[in-house]
Each structure stands twice: as structure tokens, then as C-alpha cells.
């Protein structure tokens, strides 16, 4: 798996940035929410290394109140997987794109069709938080065939005996879930965030990014002392929910970038 020909654009790009000495910053934006395309482009310009585009789902069990609210609003305004994916090829970012959504939206059209739709839309990777490693085999096979990487979540509760397998199966990067809980900012960084990142790093040389619960640039720096970088989502989406638009997102992402670069 380590030969470069097997590695997709997401992983290659993040490895390159890591090799340059950068701490990685992945930014989540809820697709279909008013102004999301501009927010994605601004985030890229402000220093994101990759973008996670949420395809809103009716029952987002891994998401906290902020992303839930944005998803409901996006669905209410008519967002569909097709409408979100149709916009992706037109995004001017120059960095890899992942989609983050829930498994039924891949199951409904069928693995092959969903994977090829992602690939055709210029999506490099997929994150399906309710498709855990143990159930992910058939999807990963179809996604791999289509050239789509599957980013798996490693949780603080994942046992040591499964972690190496899980990290080996993940492609793009390894998503280290920072705490026991759903997405959303927290006032302090959970101790679990460093522990899980450390455990992942000890069994894989793939990029390990910590997400869920990152609430400030300071926490991002703290988390990145062990991890290769962080994923921020709710803080970004809150800017959109509060009406600060792409400019608000740009300022927020820049503040994380600056902090991470300063270390």
C-alpha cells in the first residue's frame, strides 16, 4: 500500500504538505447551505489543505447541533446529493476534496454508482461516519475501483488490536476522533484527542488528523503536537449560520492557519 501509485490525490497531497513541514488543516463546509461554494473557495484561499464537503442527510447521528442545524436548513432549501456534487467541479480551490455524508446516501444508488458519481464530480475521498471499519469492506472495494479514497474514523474506544488494521484500510488520511461524542466545538481539548492521535501515529505513517471537538486555534496547535493536523467543522459552519458568510469563514480559517504555522 505504500507505493505511490496506490496512493490517491488526497493522501499524496497531504503527505507532500506534511513532508514540507506543515501542519495540516482540513476544513468542513455543509454543502447546499446558502453561500457554501464561496465559503469553500475562501477557506482554500485562507490556507486549508483539503476541503470536506458535507452532503446533508436527514439523520446525521455523528453530528452535533451546529452541523445538524446547517444540514436541516440545506435540506429545507432543496439540497440533494446531485445538486451538491454538481457544484464540485466548478469549485476553484486547487486542493483535494472529500465528501462527508452518511452511508444510506451511498447505499441507495448502490456502491458502484455512488463511487463513480463522486469520481466524476472531482471528489477525491469519502467519509461515511456511520459506516465503521468492520462494515466498510464492500464500499471500500467499490470506491477503490472508482479511484475514490475512503477515510476511516479511529475512535478513542477502538481497541489496540483493531487499530493497525483500521489505519491500514483507511486511505486519504486517518480521521482520529478526538473525543467521545459528536461533532461540535468544546471549550478545552479532550485528553483523548492526543491519546488517539498518538496511538494512530504509532501504527501508521499515513497522515493522522484529529477532528471532533476542536474549538479554537490554540486547541488546533495543541492537537497537532501529536497529530499531523486537524479537521475543523462546527466552528466553520457556525460562521455561516451566524450570517458571517464566506468572509467570516475566510477569517476563521486564516486564524487557524496562522496559529498552526506558528506552531
Amino acid at each position: 500500500m505504500s507505493s505511490n501509485s496506490d496512493v490517491g490525490r488526497m493522501e499524496r497531497s497531504l503527505r507532500d504538505r506534511r513532508d514540507e513541514g506543515a501542519k495540516l488543516l482540513v476544513v468542513y463546509v455543509t454543502g447546499g447551505f446558502e453561500g457554501w461554494e464561496a465559503a469553500v473557495e475562501t477557506a482554500a484561499a485562507a490556507g486549508a489543505d483539503a476541503i470536506e464537503i458535507g452532503i446533508p442527510f436527514s439523520d446525521p447521528v455523528m453530528d452535533g447541533p451546529v452541523i445538524q442545524a446547517a444540514s436541516e436548513i440545506a435540506l429545507g432549501s432543496g439540497a440533494t446529493p446531485a445538486s451538491v456534487l454538481a457544484a464540485v467541479p466548478h469549485l476553484d480551490t486547487g486542493i483535494p476534496h472529500a465528501v462527508m455524508t452518511y452511508y444510506n446516501l451511498a447505499h441507495n444508488p448502490g456502491h458502484e454508482r455512488f463511487a463513480s458519481t463522486l469520481a466524476d464530480s472531482g471528489v477525491d475521498a469519502a467519509i461515511l461516519p456511520d459506516l465503521p471499519f468492520v462494515e466498510s469492506g464492500p464500499w471500500r472495494e467499490a470506491a477503490g475501483e472508482a479511484g475514490v479514497e475512503t477515510i476511516l474514523l479511529a475512535a478513542p474506544t477502538t481497541p489496540d488490536d483493531r487499530l493497525p488494521e483500521l489505519c491500514a484500510a483507511s486511505s486519504g488520511f486517518v480521521y482520529a476522533v478526538g473525543l467521545l461524542g459528536v461533532t461540535g466545538e468544546r471549550s478545552t481539548l479532550a485528553s483523548t484527542a492526543t491519546e488517539i492521535a498518538k496511538r494512530c501515529k504509532s501504527v501508521t505513517d499515513k497522515p493522522v488528523l484529529t477532528g471532533v471537538g476542536i474549538g479554537s486555534p490554540e486547541q488546533a496547535v495543541e492537537a497537532s503536537e501529536v497529530a499531523d493536523g486537524v479537521i475543523i467543522g462546527s466552528a466553520v459552519v457556525r460562521q455561516l449560520l451566524d450570517g458571517h458568510g464566506a468572509d467570516g469563514v475566510g477569517e476563521l480559517v486564516a486564524s487557524y492557519r496562522t496559529a498552526l504555522d506558528a506552531g
Binding site: N108, E135, T157, V177
Partner: protein, 389 residues
């Protein structure tokens, strides 16, 4: 054998599995191991049955409905789960899960509830075993089941109204899952139906097996054979799974009755939500649809994976009935037998009434899963106080 243990991966045929965030996978594995261990331990099984007997009121009787049978031309026998403590079959499952949670060293229970029956049962078990309890209930259901909310409070449980999504049962499940993701170290999710990730569908059916076992024995005693038909209502499908499990290997026809506005099996579209692959009401791209039924307890767009399996192999059938048919059946049982059924259970009777001609002279065993006291307010609104003749 039809209703056997699921595969190692928790599958009934192609249905079931464990589609939950990675965080919960170890908890599901731990639960499965604890359940296997407990169920093989005679002391655990004995305590479970002792509580169901001394506290829950089991065995529940089998009631022959003389007047109703004469009117329909069908011999109707009711399995009286409505007479259990807390007023429904739900107590079987919660006693089992609460004992298991205690055995696993968990001190807190979370649960989802639709009509409130499972919430009340969980709050009851938590009080009995001195555990903390939080129940998630959709805002819509909190409004239409005010009395059950107060009951849960009386029993010491905290009820949180869920305002996301369709604000009904499916959203309460989402919120309970979110709670569990964050609290898994000290909390057991006391899931209320034969749904969710493995081992829940299998474990919950096992705790309700007692319904089918008792009914089988009672039928042999009363009619000297198994009934021609075994019928039960299906939302998630726990009471149906319980009674079906006593007859799956017999000649009896198994019928699970869904509400017309929540006919997951009836529509037959496979999907994945709430930890399981099953049949799921969804739109053309896969967004989960909101179920709509007169009974909060059946307002669920999915169904337990074993029911999807039983349907796919042709062992059980899953017709649906309309709210109107349910209201008529509800009144019929009140008038002919002096039994006020839960609106959920009235779905099963509505099917018998509609099919009475085809069922003529047959013996039909109907699982009366709950009593209707909780629905009286709602029926007053539906019928009007002066229009019950």
C-alpha cells in the same frame, strides 16, 4: 428453524449488521459478549424470569374473545401483554437490558421513546435497579403523550424533548445514539425495539421470546393446537418478534401489521439507518422519510432487520392498515370485550376485522401489546366526546 441466532456479523440473511460510528463498535461488541455470557448463566436467566413474574405480572393471560369472535366469525384469542406492569410488552425487554447493564457495571440508562411506553418501562426498570435514566422523546410525541412524560418524571427519569428533524421517534433514536456516543463508558443504551446495531435486534427478541413461549403453551392448552394465524402490530417490531418466535417453526401464518403511513416492509426498499440494514422508508436519493401514523409508537420509518428477513424469505407477511380502520378496531374492542387497546395493538385487530371473511372460523392469536389508557385523550379528540356510539 426460522428465527435462529444471527450470523457472527449480526446478519439475518442480508439484513442487520452494525452501522454505527466507530466509537460505538466496541460498546456493541462488549454488549454482545455480556449478553451471551448472561444468557448462558442460569442465575441471570432465573433473576430475569423472577422479576418478570413477581414484579411484571407474568405470565400474561390468554383471553378468548367470545363476543368479538361471534361478531367477526373468527375465533380471536388475545395475548394480554396490556396486563403487564407498565401496561405493555416493553417491560420484558427493559428488565432484561437493565439487569444486563448492571451486570456490565453501567450506572446510567438512556432510551428513546415514541408513544412513551418504552420510556415509561425504562424509567421503571431504572427506579427498580437504582440507575440514572434519561429518555429522549420527539417534541411532537411529548405533546401528544403528555401523561407518559409525567409518568417518567414521577419515576425519576429525565425526559428531553427532541426538536430536530421530524421531532418523532426516529429523531429520538438519533439523539439517544448521540448521547451514547458521548457517554458510552458509564451508560447503556436501552433500545426499545428489535432494531439498531447487532446485538440489539437479536437480544431484544430474545427478551421478548417469553411472549411466544407462553402463548404457544396457552394455545395448546386452550385449542389443543397452534393457531391458524398469529398477528401483531409492527413499528420496529418487538412485540411481533416476541410472539412470532414462539410459532416460527409451526404451521401458523405470521402476520405483522404496519400502519399505512409507516409501511417500511410494505414498500420493501432496503436502506441503512440507526445501525441496521433493513427496509427503510426513504425518498429517491436515500433521505429517510417521516412516518405518519395515528399511533406514536408506530411512527417509525424503518423496521427491525429480522422482520425484513422474514418477509424476504416469505415466512411472515406485512400488510398495512389505515388510521381510520385502526380507530374503528379500537372502538370495536372497547365495546365487545371491555378492553381498551393501545392504538398500536389496534392495528393488528384492524387487519383481522378487514380480513374476517377470509379468516372465517380460523383461530387467530393476536398480540395485544399494550393498553390504551395513554391514548384516551387523543381518541377524545379524534372521536369527540359525544360521538362514540
Amino acid at each position: 428453524m426460522v428465527m435462529i441466532d444471527p450470523s457472527k456479523e449480526g446478519r439475518f440473511g442480508e439484513f442487520g449488521g452494525r452501522f454505527v460510528p466507530e466509537t460505538l463498535i466496541p460498546a456493541c461488541e462488549e454488549l454482545e459478549a455480556a449478553f451471551r455470557d448472561a444468557w448462558a448463566d442460569p442465575a441471570f436467566v432465573e433473576e430475569f424470569h423472577r422479576i418478570l413474574t413477581d414484579y411484571g405480572g407474568r405470565p400474561s393471560p390468554l383471553t378468548e374473545c367470545y363476543r368479538l369472535s361471534e361478531q367477526l366469525g373468527v375465533r380471536v384469542l388475545l395475548k394480554r401483554e396490556d396486563l403487564n406492569h407498565t401496561g405493555s410488552h416493553k417491560i420484558n425487554n427493559v428488565i432484561g437490558q437493565a439487569l444486563l447493564a448492571r451486570r456490565m457495571g453501567k450506572s446510567r440508562l438512556v432510551a428513546e421513546t415514541g408513544a412513551g411506553q418504552h420510556g415509561v418501562a425504562t424509567a421503571t426498570a431504572a427506579a427498580l435497579l437504582d440507575m440514572e435514566c434519561k429518555v429522549y422523546m420527539g417534541e411532537v410525541d411529548v405533546d401528544r403523550q403528555e401523561l407518559n412524560v409525567f409518568r417518567m418524571n414521577l419515576l425519576g427519569a429525565e425526559v428531553e424533548a427532541v426538536s430536530s428533524g421530524s421531532r418523532t421517534l426516529k429523531d429520538a433514536v438519533n439523539e439517544a445514539l448521540r448521547d451514547w456516543v458521548a457517554t458510552v463508558e458509564n451508560t447503556h443504551y436501552c433500545l426499545g425495539s428489535v432494531m439498531g446495531p447487532h446485538p440489539y435486534p437479536w437480544m431484544v427478541r430474545t427478551f421478548h421470546h417469553v411472549i411466544g413461549d407462553e402463548a404457544h403453551e396457552q394455545c395448546l392448552k386452550l385449542v389443543k393446537r397452534v393457531p391458524d394465524v398469529v398477528v401483531a402490530c409492527v413499528g420496529g417490531g418487538s412485540n411481533a418478534a416476541g410472539i412470532f418466535s414462539g410459532f416460527a417453526d409451526s404451521e401458523a401464518r405470521l402476520v405483522g401489521v404496519e400502519p399505512a403511513g409507516g409501511a417500511a416492509v410494505g414498500r420493501g426498499v432496503p436502506g441503512v439507518v440507526h445501525g441496521m440494514a433493513s427496509y427503510l422508508m426513504q425518498d429517491e436519493v436515500g433521505q429517510v422519510q417521516e412516518a405518519e401514523s395515528i399511533s406514536a409508537g408506530l411512527d417509525y420509518p424503518g423496521v427491525g432487520p429480522e422482520h425484513a428477513y422474514l418477509s424476504s424469505v416469505g415466512r411472515a407477511e406485512y400488510p398495512s392498515v389505515t388510521d381510520q380502520e385502526v380507530v374503528e378496531a379500537f372502538q370495536l374492542l372497547c365495546k365487545t370485550e371491555g378492553i381498551i387497546p393501545a392504538l398500536e395493538s389496534a392495528h393488528a385487530l384492524a387487519w383481522v376485522v378487514r380480513e374476517a371473511e377470509a379468516l372465517r372460523d380460523q383461530v387467530v392469536l393476536l398480540n395485544l401489546s399494550g393498553r390504551g389508557d395513554k391514548d384516551v385523550d387523543q381518541m377524545m379528540e379524534v372521536l369527540g366526546t359525544g360521538d362514540t356510539q
